[in-house]
Assembly symmetry: C2
Homo-oligomer: 307 residues x 2
DNA sequence: GAAACAATTCAGTATCGCTACATTGAGTTG
DNA sequence: CAACTCAATGTAGCGATACTGAATTGTTTC
């Protein structure tokens, strides 16, 4: 039972297949099998079981994976102590962000934690389907992720820090008849041509909810993940779209109207593995992200009042 | 930085020499040197330094050793989880005890945790000099240890559970003139021939304190570690001795008189490495030791009242 | 200054974890 | 239902690594 074997166990829990574990740890599947067997030989209890053609954890395996978290946390803290970085944060922190948030937060972040600073960020844009965000936490120290209100919460394998709880508004051309209303009901918009996102990405679920509320499917004419592109299409009169209120720069020639009766908000959260929070540098970046997100919301609310 | 290297670091802190670490871990000194070098290569900071001809930890080394405790605690807990022994204590627990306490507690302990029970104790008698008790915690899960009131506290490498705070009384033959007094002052006993213990063992320090209070050295005629043997010598009229009030079976033909003005008590404690406390079996034995010790004191106080 | 002891260095050896390739087994597709 | 695909497991061989044992350096003691 060593650090590596316990890491394999945790990855298997997070990723759900031996092959994925092997890729995440940059080894062959054969090596993973052998290490898992060695671990099970050591404890005498079966920790894994075949589930169809993939591999899952038994109850004992899950219990051990949970206990393994503390081992990795303790080891991370020991490394932090050894580097003498407990008091004064130092080192590199990798951060991944989805499109819209990267656009707004990354520049401010790199300004504060640029190259040469004691704490330096390495930035990556990663826009993936909602259920894929937790897996990114194995590759990056901090993961900026978003999910819609009524979707399942993030899994227990990651620690969650909430940044924003951001309303999604309906974007319309100013000359659109619906633009005259202050709030739009699901039935108002259900008959409009829609610009949604790719399957599995946020917003899709809310468009589905609108269809459910109206009692009939909606007409989705385009699927565009990039909100600023979607806004341009709205301006071009292709249809209506849902766009986040704060993180997307207000596009010219488009008006936003809140949606009534349907919970149209997304959570913008930072996901990370528990052991990352032991690093002072990671905590510093996380704190700054919260500051930036708060700024963003406040600045936007003020702008709202001006409009 | 793996479990073994961190263990070496902790042992070096506890034992104070590379050779002792090697013996404790059953490897050659050469292996220890190499592992320490590998560890230092990994962290980039010197963790050890020569102190005369032995090896000590630097400040960074001590810090890392402290952090290593959490790693070993987490690993011990993981092993406990893997064995499925978190709820129902199972397994063997090794216990070492010094002479007088072994005599009184071991039989009751083995009755509760005998062979075949889910929790079984392995008992060892180890009567060592006071400063050697903490080192025993590396060899045994639980160590019954004693120290006099005014001696330095146990080092931070061990967790301490107090069992008794036991008075030391002066043992006299009944016909001795001093036996008429209810309490004895240092000057009363300073001129008596003394039966003390070997150098470094408890009681010696208290006898020294008596000499200091009287202003002149006392006459130590015998040095006997075993209290029941010392009591026999007292009965034979060889001199007076200090004996613990509760843990030593009251010897026939000897009376005990409390000592005034000098703090003549010993702590009877259980020492263990922090990671041992994660094991439910160890905690069960420890709890039983506390029960037995409380019984012992109460039973003895009652007997006191009878006499 | 010699002897005793602690730590280190430097071979040589055994063990262990990895890759590469072959095989088994489960799900999918024509 | 055969053919295919993909996940996981077994096996042989290679390279890294942790150990032992002997020789060496440095420190304390008599």
């Amino acid at each position: 039972m060593d650090e590596r074997q316990l890491r394999i166990l945790r990855e298997l829990e997070a990723l759900g297949s031996l092959r994925a574990v092997a890729e995440a740890l940059h080894v062959t599947p054969s090596a993973v099998t052998q290490q898992l067997q060695a671990l099970q030989r050591g404890v005498g209890v079966p920790l894994t079981e075949r589930r169809g053609r993939t591999l899952g954890l038994t109850e004992a395996g899950s219990a051990l994976a949970a206990a393994a978290v503390d081992v990795h946390v303790a080891l991370a803290r020991a490394r932090e102590v050894a580097r003498g970085a407990t008091d004064r944060p130092r080192g590199e922190v990798s951060v991944s962000g989805f499109n819209s948030i990267a656009l707004t937060l990354f520049p401010a972040l790199v300004q504060r934690f640029g190259r040469g600073e004691p704490v330096a960020v390495r930035l990556f844009d990663e826009d993936v389907a909602q259920e894929a965000f937790p897996r990114l936490a194995g590759r990056y120290d901090l993961v900026l992720a978003h999910r819609l209100d009524h979707t399942p919460a993030w899994p227990g394998t990651v620690r969650v820090t909430a940044l924003l709880h951001e309303p999604l508004d309906v974007a319309l051309p100013p000359e659109h008849p619906l633009a005259a209303k202050r709030r739009l009901s699901p039935s108002d918009v259900a008959d409009q041509p829609w610009i949604s996102t790719h399957e599995g990405f946020p917003v899709v679920a809310t468009v589905d909810a609108i269809a459910a509320a109206a009692g009939h499917p909606v007409d989705i004419v385009h699927r565009v993940n990039e909100f600023s592109v979607a806004a341009e299409l709205v301006r071009a009169g292709c249809g209506v779209a849902l766009v986040p209120r704060w993180t997307v720069p207000r596009p010219r020639g488009v008006v936003l109207r809140p949606l009534a009766r349907i919970p149209a908000r997304r959570h913008v959260d930072v996901l990370c593995r528990p052991e990352q929070l032991t690093r002072a540098a990671v905590r510093a970046v996380l704190a700054q992200l919260r500051v930036l997100a708060d700024d963003l919301r406040e600045r936007s609310e003020v702008g709202e009042a001006d409009a």
